[in-house]
Each structure stands twice: as structure tokens, then as C-alpha cells.
Subunit: 216 residues, 2 copies
């Protein structure tokens, strides 16, 4: 297997040398042991061992559906969500989320953030960051959990890993009551993150943390 | 009650006017309704209603003990931890945490972050950010939970709000095995945040999120 300049640079950063062994992954759940045969500034050649299916993955895909946030906050959310095991990040346009907050370039940057975070947290899967859609068009398989301050629902009592798991968090200012009601009507569960008001960029990390802590 | 320039500015930012009502708190758990009687650039005068004890607080104090982190990462941790209900942040010097990462000025800035975050999340208590101490000198009442990748402990099974709750997370590179062993010997519980490697600044938010989601 031959690696290009960006990946070769990553090997240099890790201070690896010819003869060192490492694990490589294909971004789709498979990983393998590998030995470095050549390592130059612009490329590297590896010999791969047998592919094994990736560790550190949830039994079914975990999706974070998150409203568009202002500035660079989504980068932090995507980074933490990747560490916490999500397989996909679906960006959402909601009543209080400004669709102008995203463009092709920002989307590409978010995908790059997911890639880097996958490496750092040694995941075999790179989460896909999906082009924003309207909240009404968001469909899900399995369970959907919506973070709502003061709700009585507890994620650890409801979580069921026999199917895909989805979590949804709102923009600055939150989802509207009508948006929450619409999701509940479609089968979503409201869950609490305690009685305090969380920022839009804290809620997804806290909720994914609770899922990670609950385990499978 | 007369407010100084910084607080008056906060009222302006919130676009409040004379005659508007709001809630004020004393940073120690008490809060009260208030009406704005005067509002100038440099000061404001409020009339207070009866004090009530603060909502949004855990039954016993929640302490985050966190190793010193590089750069400005502790600001993000203190901000999110405040939203998630901590009453105190104890900074720690550990084997892999550089004590040079903090000074009096940075400590003051962290305390300011806690103040601002308390306001934003409408808490009646401002968490105290405590001067760093060595890990070996950190003592706790009640329970201490230490985030350890791959541990079998589950916070939601162990959490007991009949006493104070403490959580501890390490620096970049983690706690050493000897440090973890020392804490376990002193009665701490190891708990998991899943099989993936979290950054030092993600772990406390994820663990506090799990506690907030578990409720009381």
C-alpha cells in the first residue's frame, strides 16, 4: 500500500521509521496491522497484515443530528462527537438555525476534522458529515433522543443497542416547542441533561458522553 | 441593591430596561426576583423580592478535579463544567501535567469564565476554581469517579447522591498507572467513557454529561 504526502507527513509527526509497525484503517470499519517499508517526505510504502473488523465501534451506527451553529462551534462538536463514537453527523436547518452558517468549504473542513479526530481516538471509522437538510426531512432508523432541559426522560433507561441510535440537539436558542412536538409525534424520546441551560455546543457532547458511559 | 459598571453592562447586553424584572443571585445558592429601577451606563439600581434557595443545583456539591491542561483548554472545560452543575473545580498537578501551565492571572481568568457561565446557564451558584495542588494531596468527601478508558465501571450504576460527588480526569497523555492505582487504593471508582481514546478536554465534559443525564 502506498501513502501520499498527507499520510506520510502524519507518519513523520508520529516519529515512525522504516521497520516500525502500526495499525491502518480504511474508514469503513476494517483495520489491519502494517509495517513501514519506505518512508520519504512525500510518500510511504506499507505492507499490510490481515484485515480485522474495527474495535471501538458501537454495535449499531450512532448518528448525531445537530442544528447549524454559529462560527466555528461545529468543528468542536464534530471533533468531540467523533471521539465519542458517532458514525454520522447530520447537519440540520431548524427554525432558529441560520442556513447561511454553512457552505461547501465549511462542510469540507468539518469532514477533515472528523478524519483527524478518528485518527487521534484510534477509531477505524471516519464519521461522515452530511450536507444540511431541513429538520422536517430528517428521518431515522431505530431510536431518536432529543435533549430537552427539564424533561423526565433518562437516556440510560431508554437506550437500546439492538438498533441504530440517533441523538438530536438544537441551535443557539433551542428547538421551538412545535419542532420538539413534531419529533415526539414521529416517535422521538425527550431526554434530560439536568435542570440547567446548556449551550448548543455543550449539549451534544454531554449527551454523547452519557451514551458512551452507559455502554452497550 | 446597586450594581457596578460590569453588571450594568450585562443588563444592557440583555437589552433590559427600567421596569423589567429579572432574577439575581448571590453566588452562594440564594436567588431572588428583582425589578430594574434605574439603568445607566455605569450603574443600575434594583429592588429585590424575597430570597429563595437556588434551583438547578445538585443535592450535594459536585466537584471536578482536573489536571492542568495546555493552552486555553481549561477555559472550555470550566465553562462546560459550570453549565453541567459543578460547585468546585480543583486544578491538579499530575505526573504528566505541567505546573507551568498555570499562573495567578490564568486562575483569575478561569474564575471569570465560571462567573460568566453561571449567568448564562442561570445557576445561582458560581463554581470556585481552586489553586492547583498535587494529586497526592487531593482529598475528597463522598464518592470519587476517575475516567479510565476500557474500565468496566459504569457511573450510572455507582452514582449515589446521598453524599458529595467528585469526578477526576487526567492531563494530555492521561494519568499514570501508579496514579490511578493510588486513587483506587484510597477508595476511588474507575468508570468508563467507552472504548475510544478521548482528549483530556473532552473527558470531563462527557463524564459530567453522564452525571447530568443520570440525574439525582
Amino acid at each position: 500500500m502506498t501513502l501520499g504526502p498527507r499520510e506520510a507527513r502524519h507518519l513523520h509527526v508520529l516519529r515512525l521509521r522504516v521497520g516500525d509497525v502500526l495499525r491502518v484503517f480504511d474508514g469503513q470499519g476494517a483495520e489491519a496491522g502494517a509495517e513501514i517499508m519506505e518512508l520519504e517526505a512525500g510518500h510511504a510504502v506499507l505492507i499490510l497484515g490481515a484485515a480485522v473488523s474495527g474495535a471501538a465501534e458501537t454495535p449499531f451506527p450512532l448518528t448525531l443530528a445537530v442544528a447549524l451553529l454559529k462560527g466555528d462551534k461545529l468543528s468542536d462538536v464534530v471533533r468531540a462527537a467523533t471521539e465519542l463514537g458517532v458514525a454520522r453527523v447530520q447537519l440540520l436547518v431548524t427554525a432558529r438555525a441560520d442556513a447561511r452558517e454553512i457552505g461547501a468549504q465549511k462542510l469540507m473542513r468539518l469532514q477533515r476534522v472528523a478524519e483527524e479526530a478518528s485518527k487521534q481516538s484510534r477509531r477505524a471509522v471516519v464519521p461522515e458529515v452530511l450536507t444540511p437538510i431541513a429538520l422536517a426531512d430528517f428521518c431515522w432508523d431505530g431510536q431518536l433522543f432529543v435533549a430537552q432541559p427539564g424533561s423526565a426522560g433518562r437516556i440510560m433507561n431508554l437506550l437500546d443497542w439492538s438498533a441504530p441510535v440517533n441523538v438530536l440537539t438544537g441551535p443557539e436558542g433551542g428547538l421551538t416547542d412545535a419542532e420538539v412536538a413534531g419529533l415526539i409525534e414521529r416517535g422521538a424520546y425527550e431526554v434530560t441533561l439536568g435542570p440547567r441551560i446548556l449551550r448548543a455546543e455543550t449539549a451534544p457532547v454531554a449527551l454523547l458522553g452519557a451514551i458512551a458511559a452507559a455502554g452497550e
